[in-house]
């Protein structure tokens, strides 16, 4: 039993290392990573081909749609691949970690784009879409294909032009009034009496 457990951990660690190395080397062609993750070394041309955003530089508070395109160049539907029990896609965000999760099915020899909506907050954000496959026999989920993209969100514009102008007018108005005020106060009978 313990032996089996170590074996599973070894496979998981090995596959994670492999997938991360491949992610770095083949960022332009992520679909090719799949062949490394298939247990029987069969080449399967399925993976995340694109991760894009509806706006290149959105403003804080705007809704941004994240498009994740999954392509399936195999002759069978993604959900029916024999050695996989279930396929799902997870969109990870650096701050939220698990941002969205969705079960996917992609038809044979086709690609499908999945959409996720996110309300932008200012700063730099990293999004990673990861495809997992679940092996029911081992009761575990393994990463298969992934793609990352960085999105810079501009902060909301601060302030306006009118308020500082109004504030300057308030200052000059009060200072101006202070110059004129003594001429008025001197004519108030109560103050005149008090001065005498």
């Amino acid at each position: 039993m313990r032996c089996k457990y170590y074996f599973v951990v070894l496979i998981v660690v090995g596959m994670m290392m492999l997938s991360s190395t491949l992610l770095c080397s083949f960022q332009a062609e992520p679909s090719k990573m799949i062949e490394q993750d298939v247990p029987d070394e069969e080449v399967i041309d399925v993976g995340i081909s694109n991760l894009t955003f509806s706006k290149e530089k959105p403003r804080e508070g705007e809704n941004v749609t994240i498009f994740v395109t999954v392509m399936n160049n195999e002759s069978m539907d993604l959900g029916e691949l024999t050695f996989i029990d279930k396929v799902n896609i997870t969109l990870m965000h650096f701050e939220d970690f698990l941002f969205a999760w969705e079960n996917i099915t992609v038809g044979a020899n086709s690609s499908k784009t999945f959409e996720f909506t996110w309300q932008a907050t200012s700063g730099m954000h990293s999004f990673t879409a990861v495809m997992f496959f679940e092996i029911q026999l081992l009761n575990m989920s393994l990463p298969w294909s992934s793609r990352s993209a960085i999105l810079e969100v501009d902060p909301e514009p601060i302030g306006n032009l009118y308020f500082p102008v109004a504030m300057l007018l308030v200052v000059f108005g009060i200072v101006g009034a202070a110059i004129l005020a003594p001429a008025f106060f001197e004519r108030i009978p109560y103050l005149q009496q008090k001065r005498r």
């Binding site: 730099m124 302030g159 504030m167 200052v171 009060i174 202070a178 110059i179």
Partner: protein, 271 residues
């Protein structure tokens, strides 16, 4: 008895006389030339150094934000130079013995002195912004100049009124010119920023009521994203002053310190 209209006209004329006298004084002492030179040299450093050894920032807003981060310093220097001895000088050099017994109202004397210190300080700020704007046009083209620059300029002018008021207050409170200038300078340069930082980083409370904290709005209006520590998502958030509240704080400082200064000056007696 004179009519109210004559009284007002006389007060305005007297104020104008004080302002022009103060301005002539500043020009005579070459303070204006020194601060105007600083207003040109400081922003030029931000142009010349990257031109020779590095690259300019990606956007005009980033460049302006970087260059204008030192306008606070110039406002404090210019404010201390022009307002630091404006009242204390009269007491230290005993020139007040000639000035205060005149029929001119004391209110017009002190407000004239305040405006006389405010005008050259605002001119220094304007030159700094003009130089920075020329640099932005030179690097990024005319299209790069946007309303953020105007917004920042207006905020800087409001801050100038409060900085000059604070220095004016110390000038009316203290007897010696050098002490009032130094206290005004260090309160804006060190004391208030230290209190603000302690409140922010140790007590973890927003110091919205400290004017030097609100002065951060001068560069905050550019809304330039600042990432510290590197890496995506690695944004380090500090307190940032609220635009409207920050400006109101500046105006409150301006009026409170100005009128407190005037009140103290009127009550003071020459010895």
């Amino acid at each position: 008895m004179k009519s109210i209209r004559d009284d007002i006209a006389e007060d305005l004329y007297n104020t104008w006389l004080t302002i022009s006298f103060e301005l002539k004084n500043h020009f005579r002492r070459k303070r204006v030339i020194i601060s105007f030179s600083l207003a040109v040299i400081l922003p030029l450093i931000f142009y010349v150094v990257p031109k020779i050894w590095a690259e300019f920032p990606d956007s005009a807003d980033e460049f302006a934000s970087l260059s204008l981060s030192f306008v606070n310093l110039l406002i404090i220097i210019a404010g201390s130079l022009f307002a630091g001895d404006v009242i204390s000088g009269e007491f230290e050099e005993k020139t007040g013995l000639l000035l205060f017994p005149t029929p001119q109202r004391h209110m017009t004397i002190f407000i004239g002195k305040y405006i006389g210190a405010l005008i050259p300080t605002m001119m220094v700020v304007s030159i700094y912004y003009l130089t920075t704007s020329v640099e932005v046009i030179g690097i990024y083209g005319t299209g790069a100049l946007n309303h953020n620059m105007a917004k920042s300029f207006l905020v800087a002018l409001v801050y100038t009124t409060s900085a000059v008021s604070v220095v004016f207050f110390f000038s009316s409170l203290l007897q010696r010119k050098i002490t009032s200038m130094l206290l005004g300078f260090f309160s804006l340069m060190m004391i208030l920023p230290v209190i603000s930082n302690v409140l922010q980083f140790i007590v973890e409370v927003e110091p919205w009521y400290i004017v030097t904290y609100s002065a951060g709005l001068i560069t905050d209006v550019f809304a330039v994203t600042m990432t510290i520590g590197g890496g995506p998502g690695g944004q380090f958030l500090l307190f940032t002053p609220d635009f409207h509240l920050g400006l109101v704080v500046m105006v409150v400082y301006t009026l409170v310190f100005l009128f407190l200064g005037i009140l103290i000056s009127i009550k003071r007696r020459m010895r």
